[in-house]
Symmetry: D2
Subunit: 118 residues, 4 copies
């Protein structure tokens, strides 16, 4: 295994292998994985509850940064598990949604930093 | 742009460009992006509320499958936005967490389909 | 029915009747109700995404205030449904938890506006 | 204080006093309280992740039941905190929403156990 691999297929293979080796496919239905994803987003959220970290403060705080990395990894692992069981093409889904977003929020109307149409 | 690109850097560039062109970086602080991620997970969850779809039913239902693709893309786009603002290495975070998971759930103890240690 | 009733038992009876009249008890298992509660909290959250309302702004904005009321009611209705199916005593649960909170966050240590122990 | 009190005003007073005694009102803005509510719903959700408890199993499992009580109390305490800062009338919000629900899901159309209109 390369020490650096950014490809979605790489993530999918790693997660698939991990799940199969533990005989956990039976837990991996869509509802369970969405529930798990939501729980991990909440654990990430909890790191910021009643806190007001600037981006600099986060990047200089090694422990906090690692906690955030771990929660982001958890969310991502469940997201990858989810597309694995549905054999969903993440790149295709991403590009289609970006295209929809570009059409909905045209740079002509949304170039002044406002978020919603006037 | 290639019609098929699976690389995390590709997703990061696409999202960064989209945000900058709309002057939306000011909305993209960690708390807002986590909040948005949670909302998108909930919208995905809502597609399954009070429903019991099998994986086959999902894959044969074109409209449902596309709805799910759109929500997964939304979650993923916010996740990519989040690692963009913290310049987080998703591959590194993923591999570190997978290593932790392999240590915590050894295949020796977790090979019989149970989820928790006895 | 009194036009003003604040008692938990009143809420429980109202929700129970509503569910039974529609023959919906079969949907009301713990996992579904928790999932639904989470979705409603997210809908409330969405009213505040990328927004910075002061409390005064909320109270003066009749439409926003009613939207918030509706989401709070939805969360509360699912919470009441949940305690209904488990026949849980909300007052007892509340008082026990408040007692735990008072012990964990003593006013001696937590009287200066800090949230976490030094 | 009565050992048994089911009135919303009672809960509101108890929570208000607890927050004021610790000088925590500054943390209690709408966004923070919604975030906290979401985290507590997730902690409740986590008790059920990859599990399939029947209602009987929950009611006979004293430790699980108390864990659930504590999470429900946490959700409820944040909900009460939220209506406290906006001085929202929970009974009014509840009755208005129930009225809307009765209109939307008439017993004429929703009496056969289906959840959505045909």
């Amino acid at each position: 295994m390369s020490s650096k691999n950014n490809d979605i297929q790489f993530f999918r293979n790693e997660v698939k292998k991990f799940i199969e080796e533990r005989n956990w496919t039976k837990y991996h239905n869509p509802k369970n994985l969405i529930q798990a994803m939501g729980i991990e987003v909440s654990e990430l959220s909890e790191l910021f509850l009643f806190k007001d970290y600037s981006i600099d403060e986060i990047m200089e705080n090694k422990i906090l940064f690692e906690d955030i990395e771990n929660e982001i990894a958890d969310i991502f692992i469940y997201l990858i598990s989810f597309i694995n069981i549905l054999n969903m093409d993440l790149t295709k889904a991403f590009m289609k949604k970006m295209e929809m977003n570009r059409a909905k929020y045209s740079t002509k109307e949304f170039n002044d930093g406002s978020y919603y149409k006037k």
